[in-house]
Every structure is written in C-alpha cells, then in structure tokens.
C-alpha cells in the first residue's frame, strides 16, 4: 500500500465520523426549534378591549392576525404601533386584523397611549396568564403573525426591521 493510500485509509473513517457529528448537530438543532409556537395553532383567548368590546381570537379565523404585545414603557413599541395603524388601514380590506395586547400594569396608561397614537385596532389588557400562553412575554416588543387558519407563522422579538414583518405579512395575505 502506498503512503498516499495509507493516508486515505486512515483519514476516511475520521472524515466519516466528522460528517456524522455535523449531521447529528444539525439534526439536534432542528429537533429543538427556538420558537415552539411557530407552526402550531395559536393559543385561543377571549378578552374585553379597552372599549369593553369582546376580542375573541377564534372569531378572526379567515383573517391574517398581527398580534402585538406592547407597553407604554416600551420605546420600540411606540415606533411600531403607528406603522401597524397604517397597515391596518392599508391591508385591512385584504384580510389583516391587528390586535394589540398591552402588558402595562395600569390600563389607564394603555388608554392614554391608544388615544395618543389613534390606534385603529382593538387593544386588550394582557396579564401573566396570557403571557404564559404565548410562551412567556419576557421582553418587548413581541409580535406574532397568525395565518387565516389560525396557525402561528412567525414570531418577532425585540427591535425588528418592519420591512421584514411587512414582507411576511404580505405573503400571508396572498395565501388563500
């Protein structure tokens, strides 16, 4: 056996082991998705909005829902919300429904902000129960996109490029 052939014989099994390790690592990553809610049915909830009207997630089946967890102390949320107002106006006729969930401790603060930003979509107060239902709302802003069949299709945590959200939103609106 030549030196070259000997070297190949030694290295080939090592390469195989390395390849298996890479595949295993990749498999392990896909087996534990970072966002457990994405791809699953959106947890149902019913709340009263700040005007006292009933907000029942299931009643929006057939629409694309943008579920926005926000708070008055969240500066980034206040940047996003006027854009969501604009999207509700623009994409509402195509089936978009924005729902705001305020994670403020005091509803009066949420009411004031709703009036200030002239939010044209329902806003309900959240609590730890609803937060846990959505995997723990442990940082804002937090936005979920739910498709017409009630399946969570995307989660955006923290400051996100709004164009990225809009692109995904438009793709969902284009689905039957």
């Amino acid at each position: 056996m030549s030196a070259d052939a000997r070297s190949r014989a030694v290295h080939r099994p090592l390469l195989g082991v390395l390849l298996l390790a890479v595949c295993f690592a990749a498999g392990a990553q896909t087996a534990t998705p970072a966002e457990p809610l994405v791809g699953k049915k959106a947890p149902e909830f019913t709340r009263r909005d700040l005007n006292g009207a009933r907000v029942d997630l299931i009643s929006f089946r057939g629409k694309v829902v943008l579920l926005d967890f926000w708070a008055t102390w969240c500066a980034s949320c206040q940047v996003e919300m006027p854009v969501f107002v604009q999207w509700q106006r623009e994409y509402g006729p195509r089936g978009l429904k924005v729902i705001g969930i305020s994670m403020d401790d005091d509803p009066a603060l949420a009411r004031r902000m709703k009036a200030k930003l002239q939010l044209n979509y329902p806003v309900a107060m959240g609590d730890e129960k609803l937060g846990q239902l959505y995997g723990g709302v442990l940082g804002l802003p937090l936005t979920y996109l739910i498709d017409r069949n009630g399946i969570v299709r995307a989660k955006f945590q923290g400051e996100t490029d709004l164009k990225t959200i809009e692109k995904q939103l438009k793709a969902l609106l284009a689905e039957p």
């Binding site: 969240c74 730890e128 940082g139 400051e159």
Partner: protein, 166 residues
C-alpha cells in the same frame, strides 16, 4: 489635479447619499438615540454581566446581593430572577417612591443589584432612573444587570435560576 478634485467631490457625494439613506432608515423605524438617563448613562464599572450574577448566586458563602426588579410587574409575575423582589418601575414616579421605600432602612454600603429586562438595554427606561436614585440616596455598592435583549433571552433561556409569581 482637476480629475482628483472631481473624484474627491464624487466620493463625498456618494458618502452623503449613503449617510442620508442610513438616517432615513433610522428615522423610518424610529431607532433614534436613547433618551437621557437610559441604561447608557450607567457607568460601565457598575454593570454586572448575567454570568457573573449567576456565578454569585451559585457560590456558597458569597456576599449575596439584594436583587431588585425595577421594571414591569406583569413581566416580573411571569418570570424573575430567583430571590429577587419587585421594587417598582424606575420610569415612573410611583415606582421610584416604591424603590426608595424599599431601600430606606438599608445601610448605604448594601450590595444591591438592579435589573429590568423589559426591552433591549439601550431602550430600557427603568434601570437608568432607578440607578440614579440609589446613587443620589448615597448607596455606594449598586450594580445593574446587563440584559442586552431582555430577561427572556439573556437570563431565562440560558437556564439561570428563575421564579414565577408576584
């Protein structure tokens, strides 16, 4: 020579356009400079990294700090650092009163760690005012936990000790 000047002018023009576009994007998404007394105002020597705090909590016989959450009570109820207490939102006058009342009986040398984790560090409206209050009250051993993104990402997801409830 003239060609060189044109090239320099051209480069400046291109840079100006790129800068303007960059500013426009920032203006569009509102990611502007953080407000005064944001977390950015806290001296780096007073900042504690999550792994350091976790090490401190695990160490036997270590001088354990009093850990105070100075953000949202609702977020605290969902998850908070094990052993920490809710002390009022630092961005609100009521919250600062609550914090002041909590620390009033403590010696000024007490080891206190403040944290919030409501939003990305530079956007947090709570830790800056809370830290300033304690400094103004004369506390000399106050650290602020650096949570780059939020409590979920930088503490809970790392498997560090957490408790739930108000």
């Amino acid at each position: 020579m003239r060609f060189g000047s044109v090239r320099i002018a051209g480069t400046i023009a291109v840079l100006a356009v790129v800068f303007a576009a960059h500013s426009k994007v920032h203006a569009q998404f509102g990611w502007s400079a953080p407000p005064p007394e944001s977390a950015s105002s806290i001296p780096s020597a007073q900042i504690l990294q999550p792994e350091e705090l976790n090490r401190l909590l695990q160490a036997k016989g270590a001088n354990k700090p009093l850990i105070l959450q100075v953000g949202s009570h609702m977020l605290f109820a969902q998850a908070h650092i094990a052993g920490s207490e809710y002390a009022g939102a630092g961005s609100q006058a009521e919250g600062l009163k609550q914090l002041q009342a909590r620390v009033a009986p403590l010696p000024r040398k007490s080891f206190i760690v403040l944290y919030c984790g409501c939003c990305p560090w530079v956007r947090c409206p709570n830790v800056g005012p809370a830290f300033k209050l304690l400094r103004d009250l004369g506390f000399t051993n106050v650290k602020v936990l650096y949570l780059a993104n939020n409590l979920g990402t930088d503490w809970v997801d790392r498997g560090y000790p957490v408790e739930r409830g108000r």
